[in-house]
Symmetry: C2
Subunit: 426 residues, 2 copies
């Protein structure tokens, strides 16, 4: 075969793959060597490889403990300087481990690839990435190792991206590099129709749309962070969620998959529901007898937003005698703060009373196909009713139906819905 043809053939199959490994995949020397082998295997198949890594498991806690030893109210800027060392250690060790296997590797810190962010220390947002130095290394045949979780603001200060930041770094890097896919490695081998710990009939989903995944992530499935899926959807990045500890295919999260394509893939007669999720971090507050004046809702919820309390489902009853009741849910771990806030707001808002219920769960069915298939809501309610589970609140969107139930019924609700929509079947 002539050399030119070979080149063409190689260029056609070579992909640019971003691989992200979290703290547990980087937890020990042996695991770092395992990550190195994975990266090298992908490179040996002829692909360009960029690896994004988190700090070694336990390192962030160790650093925060040191900080708490010297400071009772640590400055965010200096905590970011401190925490960013965790990923810096990881990239150096991984680059060394890859070199040890006879491949070329080069590490980059956040500021070196210019993962430019705003200045919100501890939860900075990515503004831009300079892809050129990475492309240059890839062209030279180097495996590029990038520190996740960290960036740099316009003044050169080190920033960190907050919870799930390394996933976000990887997805953003994949978008900036126009990578063919972004592989997210963790200790689970994909995305399931529901939590396999709750229901042993749970089945791995081979392929899911980004929008459905976004619902699942925000509803409490922990494989991917909501922010990363949003980013992947917005910038058209294909994700592949895989296990660090096995070679099997994981689950693909595909941005371009439209509702129609989805339906086709599943067969037009097939399932419209993709997964059942459950969020047990749910509390419900009911405010009784709010004067029904214009702007009453804003006066209630604006202080909540200012206090960083995320409101989820909101139900307002029809007003009676100029007063109304409002029920809403918040994450259970901020319920006490919400209660304190309501107490302080009572004089100004003039409501009669309020109540709180912290032992609740939100069970949701998610599926891009459901928008074109009537009856999903009715079947959901029927399944729960048949099992004797009362629905306390309902919230719907085009691709999901959420029901708030008592948390003692949460696992049962997941199982009956999984059965109802036959999710164990491919």
């Amino acid at each position: 075969m002539p050399a030119t043809l070979q080149t063409t053939s190689h260029a056609r199959t070579q992909k640019l793959i971003v691989q992200k490994f979290g703290g547990s995949s980087m937890g020990t020397i042996e695991r770092i060597q395992n990550v190195a082998r994975r990266a090298v295997k992908t490179a040996a198949e002829g692909h360009q490889v960029v690896v994004v890594v988190s700090a070694m498991q336990g390192e962030t806690d160790r650093l925060l403990k040191l900080a708490s030893g010297v400071s009772t109210r640590p400055a965010d800027r200096e905590i970011d300087v401190l925490l960013a060392t965790g990923e810096q250690v990881s990239i150096a060790l991984l680059a060394l481990a890859i070199c040890e296997l006879g491949y070329k590797a080069r590490s980059f810190l956040g500021h070196q690839v210019e993962i430019r962010t705003d200045s919100t220390h501890g939860s900075a947002r990515i503004r831009s990435i300079k892809a050129d130095p990475v492309h240059e290394c890839l062209r030279k045949g180097e495996i590029v190792v990038i520190a996740g979780f960290q960036g740099v603001d316009q003044h050169g200060n080190i920033t960190t991206l907050g919870r799930g930041g390394s996933d976000l770094s990887a997805v953003a890097m994949a978008a900036a590099l126009k990578a063919d896919s972004c592989e997210i490695y963790s200790d689970v081998d994909g995305i399931y129709t529901t939590d396999p710990n709750v229901y042993n009939k749970a089945r791995k989903i081979p392929r899911i749309g980004s929008e459905e995944m976004l619902e699942l992530a925000s509803l409490g499935a922990k494989v991917l962070q909501t922010r990363s899926v949003e980013f992947a959807l917005k910038y058209n990045v294909t994700l592949h969620c895989r296990s660090s500890f096995s070679d099997g295919e994981g689950s693909w999260v595909v941005p371009e998959m439209s509702g129609l394509e989805d339906a086709e893939m599943k067969g037009l007669e097939g399932a419209v529901v993709t997964a059942v999720s459950c969020d047990k971090n749910t509390a419900k507050l009911t405010v009784v007898g709010i004067p029904d004046t214009p702007g009453a809702a804003a006066r209630l919820f604006a202080p909540m937003a200012d206090a960083g309390i995320n409101i989820d489902v909101i139900i307002q009853n029809p007003p009676q005698e100029g007063r109304t009741d409002v029920t809403f849910t918040v994450p259970r771990n901020v319920a006490d703060r919400a209660v304190q806030l309501l107490e302080s707001l009572q004089p100004a808002l003039g409501f009669h009373s309020f109540s709180v219920d912290k032992s609740l769960a939100k069970v949701s069915v998610v599926g891009a196909g459901m928008v074109s298939q009537p009856g999903v809501a009715q079947r959901t309610f029927a399944a729960l009713g048949d099992a004797g589970i009362s629905i306390l609140l309902i919230s719907t969107s085009e691709i999901k139906i959420s029901c708030v139930v008592e948390d003692r019924f949460a696992d049962l609700a997941v199982r009956v819905l999984h059965d109802k929509f036959e999710l164990e079947k491919t």
Copy 2:
């Protein structure tokens, strides 16, 4: 007093002080808090304070151990990325500890103050420093905390400065900032007339010229690294060697002190010798019967230099019958390498034989005053002779006399010379 006068008076007494704390001063949370108190105390006295710190004691070893777990022949570039995290942790913790005391502090990494170096990873040389961002913070009343030991090359790669690098960072920073002084904190409280562990009559030297200190440092006194003293001398930086654990004055190392000024300070009739040092890391090699042709010395010593073997004292005997003997000293820990090299050179150089003696020490008397005072050499030799100590080699400069002796006599030689020049007297 009018406000303008107050300002003038304040401006007159305000100094810019660089303080350097090594790994043992930063070894624990408590010690970091102690460093914070020192910096704050200096700031509270109205001064501008820049603190340069090393990694916490033990951290560098911990990181190198991780690296050796993944790599048998680690790449210098990645080792620098790894090791630089040590100082990064230190600056964040110290900045937090200073803030905890109610003062403003801001940390800077090597690349953030642009400690620009060449690209020699592991032993980079400083080329320039950008002082402006530091001055800006100081003007805002912030205490500036800078990571020692690290820099950045022209391509943005992280570099480290090698052994004693944090001292060098501090002195270079003091030069760039035109600081009034650079305080070097360690676990000893100053520079002594000789090692107090060797002779209990050793006395702390309140003030010493940089050139004398340079001799002392290169002769084996371990308080300051040779490179830092060279830098201080070249860029006119006044050093103050102090204890981290006491408030007393230490020893001042003053660049502008001329021989005359020195003699005046000590009194013209006073001591001409400042200190006695001892370097036990000494080995002597004698090459017998080298053909006395032009370039013979170069053919002997050029391969030594290429192999990184530092030659110290060199003595060449007058040639007899066209052949000569050459004796020289090297650090004891490279003597075996020098021996291997001589064996490989023997066929080409055509010498008869060589011998090596590894149990030697070099004892030196140092003093800027000695250049104007005859008889120091004679008194040195007499003192050693009276004590029954044979001198094997002699080397002199304007401000020092070094004698190589058997190492079993080294401590005795230090004591008799200390007595002879009455160094216990102020």
